[in-house]
């Protein structure tokens, strides 16, 4: 394999791709001290192991990587070797600058041809998973090689092709992440994990695509499985959780109705009130009054 490092600002190959901060491949045949200290950047870093065995420290976790494995480091996470040096072996990598929104969600930039909702979902899944290592993802290695080939050969259409390949890389990494946390055997368990995730972020405006992605399923199969297992559509199941959390909060005197509405994921107190009344027959304030003077 060819060894090289392209860096934004230094390498003309990257001029048309401001979002590629660094792209490289390296065959490390000797250990050099202090060659690989821990660092954090504001890019997404993807490292693919071609050969060798690496012991890395990703976001506070020690990880062992073998050939075919990928290390995924999110913006702000620390990454490197605790011993400070890079072990013998070969690897390829890419650092991608990722647009960061105010609410902490990540989305790829304008270069990407992913739709808005798909890139939101990908961002959400990447953020939710913090395992750092994706095992046996040879496809990632191949894509990195293709990107390198496109950049060096610059054949017609290479600009589009490079960006498509980066999209593809993000997609296969996201799919692997969800598959890795769900081996597609135990639906009740996957559903239980989903419920926990929903409850931890109840104020988030969950879409079915995001929920399906968390359990590693396509939306069609997801809808069918959830309906079959829970008796509700995914969105109606989520409404159940929202209303039951809201009931708990209504029974405490010190939280305003607007706060309850927003905390439990309704768009507004109006939306909360309508949904609540439709289901229970009470408006939230009637329900609260009724329960405080109950006995």
């Amino acid at each position: 394999m060819n060894q090289f490092v392209l860096q934004q600002g230094h390498s003309p190959e990257l001029e048309l791709f401001p979002h590629i901060v660094e792209l490289g491949a390296k065959k490390n045949s000797a250990i050099q001290l202090n060659s690989f200290p821990e660092s954090a950047t504001d890019t997404i870093r993807i490292y693919y192991v071609n050969d060798g065995k690496f012991e890395w420290h990703i976001h506070g976790h020690s990880c062992l990587l073998y050939p075919g494995d990928v290390a995924l480091i999110l913006p702000g996470q620390s990454f490197g070797s605790q011993k400070g040096f890079l072990e013998i072996g070969s690897l390829s990598w890419m650092h991608i600058a990722i647009g960061k929104l105010d609410n902490g969600k990540m989305v790829p930039g304008k270069w990407s041809s992913l739709s808005e909702s798909e890139s939101m979902t990908i961002g959400k899944i990447l953020l939710l998973n913090n395992s750092g290592v994706l095992s046996k993802l040879n496809e990632a290695g191949r894509i990195l090689q293709y990107i390198q080939g496109e950049l060096f050969n610059q054949q017609i259409g290479y600009c589009t092709r490079v960006n498509q390949l980066i999209d593809e890389l993000l997609i296969i990494i996201t799919r692997q992440l969800t598959r890795q946390s769900n081996p597609a055997r135990d639906f009740p368990k996957a559903f239980m994990q989903l419920e926990q995730t929903l409850r931890q972020n109840l104020s988030h405006q969950w879409t079915v695509e995001e929920m399906a992605a968390i359990v590693g399923m396509g939306t069609t199969l997801f809808n069918e499985k959830v309906k079959n297992y829970s008796g509700f559509s995914p969105i109606n199941y989520l409404i159940n959780i929202r209303i039951s959390e809201a009931i708990k909060l209504l029974k405490k005197e010190d939280i305003s109705l607007t706060d309850i509405a927003l905390d439990t994921g309704f768009y507004s107190s109006q939306h909360f009130s309508t949904t609540f009344k439709k289901l229970t027959g009470y408006t939230p304030s009637e329900f609260r009054k009724n329960h405080l003077r109950n006995n």
Partner: protein, 522 residues
């Protein structure tokens, strides 16, 4: 046209059925709710989620089936899983989640009571085996370990009592559910002072005791409106899932027993007298003043085969457990009865009846070099059913059993039903796709309305057409293997304890590692 609605508050889901007055199902829907496992032995549910899920499902069934077809709802009858505990404050507001039957946190309290001189008296009076499942011990646990919650508690309810209170404002518990709390004297039908003392509570901290036919009061105005039901819709308190499954199975006379296997399982008989067992191995639950449902429960039913499927099934389609199970069963059916000498003790979740050993663990025994995957499959299924037989066998020490009625998703798999007939050497009847808890609740409501004169008469209307007859050769094979199964289940008790202790330690150290790595991160 009138109809009867039944609401079953089950382990993982609420199931709502609507029946016409002849007992035909006009519609049914279910809604799942979550179980929280916040600690190793903890199993809790959110009472508000159960309530809102129940309301949502009921409303959907009414709006989509009952109201469009112009049915008039004559009554709504409740049933629920046994042994749940929910503490509420003086305003009726839940103090934390409800503790479900599967929660084992009260191990220490159970041991303490079991070792005390009053234990036998409490079991004899209450009919509930002394086990962490029992609300008696769960309340004692709260008293000992969660003083603040205990001090704030105005009442200890069952989940069903809470749901009914939300709908009508009344705090009630029926004889059946009360008889599964370990707090009720099943002979006098009054709260048992000795048990209350151990739990540290007064009778007024429990809901009011009422017969299963009792009316639970009027629906609150808001629910009359949102459900579009008239004010005089009768709400019947109903019974427990176990008692109603037995009633719905049509087993209501001498010489019969019913076998239910879902995730867990039970073998039950019905009679006018309590089964007094020296070894305290049975439960005795009360349906009406002179009708007891007695039997033994197992932890390790269909859930064990599900475990096996998840580990070793093929899953050609993602998450398609049903398909994978069918394929495994097809493979198992090619192995002769007795699995060519491979035996399985199914105690992955510890065991209740008949060995009552929380430390019991799973064992494959007799493995030789010729055994293949298919032998493991069949042995696993046979092991689950030997365990059911071991309960039936001790019941036969007290009652003679001539025929069996089967229900529950696992037991009603034809392959399993036939093995049950063979192992027991008795004819087995089965109605496929049959919801015995719902039917039991229907029979109860219909009796209350006067359609049947008595529960006996109601139970006799149940037809059980499919009969599986025992095969003699298979029975002989199973009996020889069962005698080894039975010996192993008690012989290994020292080793069960030793391995359970090691497993506990290993689980604790993993838990500690997690805490340490979390601390490093912060």
């Amino acid at each position: 046209m009138k109809c009867i609605i039944t609401i079953e508050l089950g382990t993982n889901a609420v199931r709502v059925f609507a029946f016409d007055l002849k007992g035909n199902v006009i519609g049914s829907m279910k809604g799942h709710y979550h179980t929280f496992h916040t600690g190793p032995d903890y199993s809790e549910q959110d009472p508000e989620q159960i309530f809102i899920t129940m309301l949502y499902v009921l409303k959907n069934l009414l709006n989509e089936v009952i109201h469009p077809k112009k049915y008039e709802v004559a009554s709504i009858c409740f049933s629920a899983s046994m042994h749940s505990v929910l503490a509420v404050d003086k305003n009726g507001v839940p103090l934390g989640n409800a503790i479900t039957w599967a929660d084992n946190r009260a191990k220490k309290e159970a041991q303490e009571l079991k070792g005390s001189p009053g234990a036998k008296k409490i079991y004899t009076a209450t009919g509930t085996p002394i086990h962490p499942m029992s609300p008696l011990l769960k309340i004692a646990w709260i008293k000992n370990n969660n003083r603040e919650r205990f001090a704030l508690t105005s009442k200890f309810l069952s989940i069903k009592s809470y749901i009914i209170q939300q709908l009508t404002g009344e705090y009630l518990i029926d004889y059946s559910l009360a008889s599964a709390t370990g707090l009720l004297n099943i002979h006098t039908i009054k709260w048992e002072t000795g048990a209350l003392d151990f739990a540290g509570i007064q009778p007024d901290m429990l809901p009011d005791l009422v017969p299963v036919f009792a009316s639970a009061g009027k629906l609150k105005k808001a629910y009359q409106n949102s459900l579009n039901l008239p004010a005089d819709t009768k709400i019947i308190v109903g019974s427990s899932d176990g008692c109603l499954a037995t009633l719905g199975a049509g087993i209501w006379s001498e010489g019969k027993a019913t076998i239910t296997i879902e995730d867990s399982g039970a073998v039950r008989v019905v009679g006018k007298k309590v089964l007094q067992d020296e070894k305290q191995r049975f439960f005795n639950y009360l349906l009406t003043e002179d009708c007891y449902v007695s039997g033994g429960p197992t932890n390790n039913g269909g859930i064990i085969f599900e475990w096996f499927t998840k580990q070793f099934g093929d899953f050609k389609n993602p998450f398609d457990e049903e398909q994978s199970m069918e394929e495994l069963i097809a493979e198992a059916s090619k192995v002769p009865a007795g699995s060519d000498g491979l035996l399985f003790l199914p105690y992955l979740l510890g065991e209740r009846a008949p060995i009552w050993n929380a430390n019991a663990r799973g064992v494959y025994f007799g493995l030789n070099i010729k055994h293949e995957r298919r032998h493991f499959i069949r042995a696993t299924i046979e092991g689950i059913l030997y365990e059911i037989y071991s309960i039936g066998k001790i019941l036969e020490e007290h009652r003679s059993i001539h025929s069996l009625s089967i229900n529950g998703s696992f037991a009603s798999i034809p392959f399993c039903t036939q093995i049950i007939a063979d192992i027991f050497n008795k004819p087995v009847s089965l109605r496929a796709d049959y919801h015995s808890v719902g039917v039991g609740a229907f029979l109860l409501s219909a009796t209350e309305m006067g359609i049947y004169k008595s529960l006996d008469e109601a139970a006799k209307t149940i037809e059980l057409p499919d009969t599986y007859l025992p095969g003699e050769n298979n029975h002989a094979a199973y009996s020889s293997y069962f005698s080894i199964f039975e010996k192993l289940s008690t012989k290994l008790s020292d080793e069960f304890e030793a391995i359970a202790t090691l497993q506990q330690k290993s689980a604790e150290s993993t838990e500690n590692d997690k805490v340490v790595s979390k601390m490093k991160l912060t």
